[in-house]
Amino acid sequence: MSSLTEMVAKAHASGDYNGLIELIPYAQVIGVNCERFGDEMVFRLPRNPDNLGNPTLPAIHGGVIAAFMELSAAFQVLLQTSTPELPKIIDFSVDYMRAGLDRDTFAMCQLERQGRRVTNCSVIAWQEKRTEPIATARAHFLVKPVDS
């Protein structure tokens, strides 16, 4: 068993995912964290003045929202597929629906298709209501098969 697989198992057992978040520096820079509710993972980007872009509203920088969603997807793939390595991003696409205001942002991911090497993941990000997303995204990741 690889050390990453062990880390994932330990995180699931303890409910503390910070050790995994620390693997990706930018996830720490913007302050991503996650919590498990039954089988569902909810990712959270706490309100942080360093994440703001346009000072007028003020609004969270669009790039930060996209990065939060991409990293959420990467962690979801990692947590759900027991891959021995961090997934590699192939492509990413985001649609922005509403401005992300200066408050907590949440994201949930769904693995739409898990192939042998490539996994497709969709992401929805919201602040007030999940039915009123601030953005939706999808990504493809190259995932190392468990048995190789």
């Binding site: 872009g53 920088h61 990065a67 390595e85 649609d95």
Partner: protein
């Protein structure tokens, strides 16, 4: 041809964004259509325990920012142009010990929409790390916050400064 006025305007816009100040993004050069930025090597992005996906997410912010900044090169007057969508294709993993450069171009502008494309590279622009395609919506100059416009046009130093600028009083002690 480099345009120092546009370069300064792009940098002032970026400096007004808290997150971009945190990342230390700098304008290398800009003209009436495209901009080149650099994301310097920095401790906060290199402290990872693995080499895979080390700059995960940071590239996305870089591409989003450069694409938005490229719209400033084209617009005669500052406008707020929110991103409608952004798509990124990753060609290869970046080397974390080198700065990341990005060239972004706003290649088509209509009354309502602006289209951008961007290339991220480390050694040369023809050896790409990632490509980004973005679409921005023009909201027009009438909805621009006058204070933000003043920051971008260099009339005041920062968004925290007084606006309208307080005139220096003659003869004041």
């Amino acid at each position: 041809m480099r345009n120092p006025e546009i370069e300064a305007r792009c940098q002032r816009f970026m400096d007004a964004l808290a997150h971009i100040r945190k990342l230390g993004l700098r304008v290398i050069q800009a003209d009436e259509r495209r901009v080149t930025l650099v994301l310097p090597v920095q401790e906060q992005l290199s402290s990872g325990k693995t080499n895979t996906y080390l700059l995960g997410g940071a590239l996305t912010t870089l591409i989003d920012t450069a694409s938005a900044v490229s719209t400033l090169c084209v617009l005669p007057e500052f406008e707020i142009a929110p991103t409608l969508d952004l798509r990124i294709d990753h060609m290869k993993a970046p080397t974390h010990s080198r700065p990341l450069y990005i060239q972004a171009e706003c290649y088509r502008t209509t009354r309502s929409v602006m289209f951008t494309r961007a290339t991220v590279y480390q050694t040369a622009v023809d050896d790409p790390i990632a490509f980004g395609i973005g679409t921005f919506m023009r909201l027009g100059t009438e909805v621009v916050d006058p204070k933000m416009r003043a920051v971008v046009e260099g009339e005041i130093d920062s968004y925290d400064a007084d606006y309208p600028p307080v005139a220096k009083q003659e003869g004041a002690q």
